[in-house]
Symmetry: C2
Subunit: 147 residues, 2 copies
DNA sequence: TTACTTGCAAAGCCTTTGCAGTAAA
DNA sequence: TTTACTGCAAAGGCTTTGCAAGTAA
């Protein structure tokens, strides 16, 4: 999972190929944005990437970073870390439950999943700190939105 | 899990008590905001609640709804549906993994959890539509941020 | 050359905040 | 009465968009 020197190279190669396949032009900015992201051990925001990037390409603009990340994500080249939209959604507090989200209509449904609630967390997680909540987000297309 | 007439009443009673315990004043707006949320089967946004609320309290303002929801959430009376912050975070696509988030420093760590990856989804979920991804978000306070 | 990308600037959306008036305790 | 809460208006942060100039193919 952590990026190593050679895994970056492999990733970049795969990336270039995927761009070609998708008909995306390989610009200097795109390559650097992808490389920067692939090098990141954390999960940077657009702005964090932008700040790093400016060291290499002083003229890049923040909007290009945004646009590029959106483009990459829409082609499945990168992921936006699981988030439910820019708008916050609320619920009254109740029993432990999880969420099912339709990526088309954005409807959010609750569901229960005891298997997960009762499962022991991996050791790496247990030693990370104090755990407060565990919640699964399952996403897909709901029946109403399927063709 | 779906709210029923009497469970609302129970919830409102518990809510009023919790407000008193927390030293929060019971205003008309707060009660109605809470009731509206408790009645919701979906997970409304502040704006959705506001639009409904205006039917009952025409003078209510959107900022009050925001402020009230924030207050409620900070007292644990309601939940903000799992989201990682207002800023989007990105990562290159790689193997199935999950996220560990420190609610203090907001650092996001990847981890693997085969138990969940391999577990069968509950039946209710399986019949919901087409599933694309399942991802666990575990939150808490990481060791570095613990006292 | 042609169509896609970029940088710039401005707008957009969601949310927060300062302030003065209002209402709960 | 006292202090917290509300509504208003304005600002703030993150993200998107229109447009003209630039560049990959």
């Amino acid at each position: 999972m952590p990026p190593t020197a050679e895994s970056i190279e492999k990733r970049l190669a795969a990336f270039e190929q995927a761009c070609r396949a998708a008909g995306l032009r390989l610009t200097h900015q795109r390559l650097e944005i992808y490389r920067q992201l692939a090098l990141s051990r954390n999960h940077p925001t657009a702005e964090a990437l932008y700040l790093e990037l400016r060291k290499k390409i002083p003229t890049v603009s923040l909007d290009t970073v945004y646009r590029t990340l959106t483009t990459f994500a829409s082609h499945g080249l990168i992921n936006k870390v699981e988030t439910i939209e820019s708008q916050a959604h609320f619920e009254v507090t109740h029993e432990q439950h999880h969420h099912l989200i339709c990526s088309r209509c954005k409807e959010i449904i609750d569901f229960e999943w005891r298997t997960v609630d009762d499962a022991d967390l991996p050791e790496a997680v247990a030693s990370w700190g104090r755990i407060d909540t565990r919640s699964v987000v399952v996403s897909g297309i709901c029946r109403k939105c399927l063709p």
